[in-house]
């Protein structure tokens, strides 16, 4: 069973969001997503400074099985990207909620409140069978 940390928020499209408490939010893909994709071989990161609307396609992860868009879970401006993934996309497989983070957004406080909590996301995953 995939790991779903209770302190994070989630989307139906399998991104996670962490409210860093300082007006920034860290985004990555879930353990379930990395498991379904398999070994990642390429990550296309967004540009720092890009202004995103919620659900904008803003990054791409590619495995030997499939390429998949990553969507902005909330609206905001990209403040940082995880450049370390460039040479080591497998970090997303090994540590999806830690070193495998993908980018950070700045947004107002409470911006992620409307997203799924761990239980609701678990239900989404279960529903996929």
């Amino acid at each position: 069973m995939s790991n779903m940390p209770a302190e994070l928020k989630f989307t139906k499209s399998h991104e996670w969001v962490n409210d860093n408490g300082d007006g920034t939010y860290t985004v990555g893909i879930t353990d379930h997503a990395q498991e379904a994709l398999g070994d990642l071989v390429f990550v296309e990161l967004p540009e720092v400074g890009a202004k995103l609307a919620a659900e904008d396609g803003c990054a791409v992860v590619e495995s030997v099985k499939a390429a998949s868009d990553i969507y902005a879970p909330i609206a905001g401006e990209v403040t940082a990207v995880n450049d370390a993934l460039d040479g080591a996309p497998e970090t997303i497989n090994s540590d999806p909620y830690g070193d495998g983070w993908i980018f950070k957004l700045s947004a107002g406080s409470g911006a992620a409140d409307g997203l799924l909590d761990a239980d609701a996301y678990q239900a989404v995953v279960d529903d996929e069978g």
Binding site: A36, D39, V41, F42, V64, K65, A66, P89, E90, G129
Partner: protein, 489 residues
């Protein structure tokens, strides 16, 4: 071993090189190489052995059952090859005038007519040289149609999430935005989601029917009405035409554009990326935009229709008339089959698929859409086996190679986890289908008792399990002389 690695300086096989071609004095010196090209220098025997051995490593339709879903790996009749290789066809220069090309143009003209009848479309162009190029031509015509009407806001192409990856790629290349439409649990397009998605921005929808999940979309008429009422056009991806050949026509379903993969449905050799042929058929309103050239008959003479005859054409897809050798093989195949034969193609293709699906289900495998009749292909999911034994669809696929079967398509469509997409085609005998079922049963028994056997498969092929993750992460596709310490220059 690469042939470059066998190369030794000065070793040459010149017996078949015409001496007069070695004289370069009529080439301006500024255009000549200063350094010899790094071609391998081997003896004639070494070259013969190298390529003979390579050919013996082929896993092909001529040697094995090849149920690679979505690829229609059917038998390629030898007669098509022999006739297309007649010297009159082979030796014709692509720039030969029409007056010297009446024979081949008669064949092409008839092929255009056959494809029109088979698909129920108003007109056909043979120009696109592959399926993906046919798709591009198709969506470019949709674009040209809306533009010609001054309808410049229609920039969105709808694509079901089960579509072939080429569909959204073609739409993007033609300058459209892509909007994804979900597939319902029964395998049909989610018609409510489609109704929500259509509107004044809808340029069209790209559909494969039967779809990539191996079922015929029962709502096709409602889909056609919905998209047409919104002002959009319907694009038919002909990838799965083998399922309906001679039975149902895309033109009658309401489609405005279709591309056909002649290399699949009309059985020309393919695999390894080519060659292909992707003719496009259109409804009446799209005819002006067809890619050139077309062949027309004026009285008793065949003539090329090119840009001046068709000012609204989207243009050329290749410098000449498409992949002639493939078009000829497809023409001969169509003529050998006739209308009755084409019906038998789809009947046996679907019979074989449904037989195989029923037998695999009986053996305990899980069909992805058990309540639906299969078209010419079907999906099983190995998710239960993955959970129980820790072996995935790729492990099964690799182990099947050891048993002498080309693996089915794995992990496509993405909607179904741990899936195998299986397309037996009409060519296979019952005994071959039964042999495949036996191999699947044996493989599952091994998965249960000795999963490592699967995880390390294949065991009996010249190339063992490839590390495709490493290959993708550290892409290395060019041979360099210094890698072997030899100077090939």
């Amino acid at each position: 071993m690469l042939i470059q690695e066998q190369s030794r300086p000065g070793r040459a096989a010149t017996a078949q090189a015409p001496q007069h071609m070695a004289d370069l004095s009529d080439l301006p010196s500024g255009l000549r190489r200063r350094k010899r090209a790094a071609l391998p220098e081997v003896s004639e025997l070494q070259a013969v052995r190298h390529y003979t051995r390579l050919s013996q490593k082929n896993f092909s339709i001529d040697t094995q059952f090849y149920p690679l879903g979505s690829c229609t790996m059917k038998y390629n009749p030898r007669a098509c090859n022999s006739l297309a290789s007649l010297p009159g066809f082979l030796a014709r220069h692509p720039a030969a005038p029409a007056s010297h090309s009446q024979g081949i143009m008669a064949c092409l003209h008839e092929l255009q007519d056959i494809l029109k009848i088979v698909t129920g479309m108003h007109a056909v162009s043979l120009a696109p040289a592959a399926g993906a190029q046919g798709e591009l031509a198709g969506v470019m015509m949709i674009r040209a149609y809306h533009d010609a009407r001054g309808d410049h806001e229609r920039l969105e192409i709808l694509v079901p999430d089960a579509a072939h990856g080429t569909n959204p790629a073609s739409a993007i290349m033609a300058g459209f935005e892509v909007r994804e439409i979900p597939t319902g649990n029964n395998g049909d397009v989610d018609i409510a989601a489609l109704r929500d998605a259509v509107g004044p921005r809808t340029a069209g929808i790209m559909l494969t029917n039967p779809s990539t999940v191996g079922v015929f979309d029962r709502n096709i008429q409602a889909i056609a009405e919905t998209v047409h009422e919104a002002g959009g056009l319907l694009y038919y991806d002909g990838a799965n035409l083998n399922a309906i050949l001679g039975k149902v026509r895309p033109g009658d379903m309401g489609f405005d554009v279709i591309h056909m993969n002649l290399h699949k449905t009309f059985s020309t050799p393919h695999g390894g990326g080519g060659p292909g042929a992707g003719p496009v058929g259109v409804s009446k309103r799209l005819e002006p935009f067809l890619p050139v050239p077309l062949v027309v008959k004026d009285g008793q003479q065949y003539r090329w229709q090119v840009e001046p005859d068709r000012p609204e054409s989207i243009g050329r897809m290749t410098a000449f008339g498409g992949n002639m050798g493939i078009l000829l093989r497809a023409y001969i195949y169509a003529r050998m089959l006739g209308a009755d034969g084409m019906r038998r193609v789809s009947e046996y293709a679907t019979l074989n698929a449904n037989y195989l699906m029923a037998r695999l289900q009986e053996a305990g495998f899980t069909a992805a859409y058990p309540e639906r009749r299969a078209s010419h292909e079907f999906i099983i999911t190995l998710k239960p086996e993955a959970k129980a034994f820790g072996t995935n669809a790729m492990d099964f696929a690799k182990r099947l190679l050891d048993y002498g079967f080309h693996a089915p398509t794995t992990y496509f469509p993405l909607l179904v986890p741990e899936c195998l997409l299986i397309e037996p085609t009409e060519s296979e005998a019952k005994e071959d289908l039964d042999g495949f079922v036996e191999a699947m049963i044996k493989t599952r028994a091994e998965a249960e008792q000795a999963p490592e056997t699967l995880k390390q498969a294949p065991h009996s092929l010249p190339v063992r399990r490839l590390d495709d993750v490493r290959a993708a992460r550290h892409l290395d596709v060019a041979w360099k002389a210094d890698e072997t310490g030899e100077d090939a220059a």
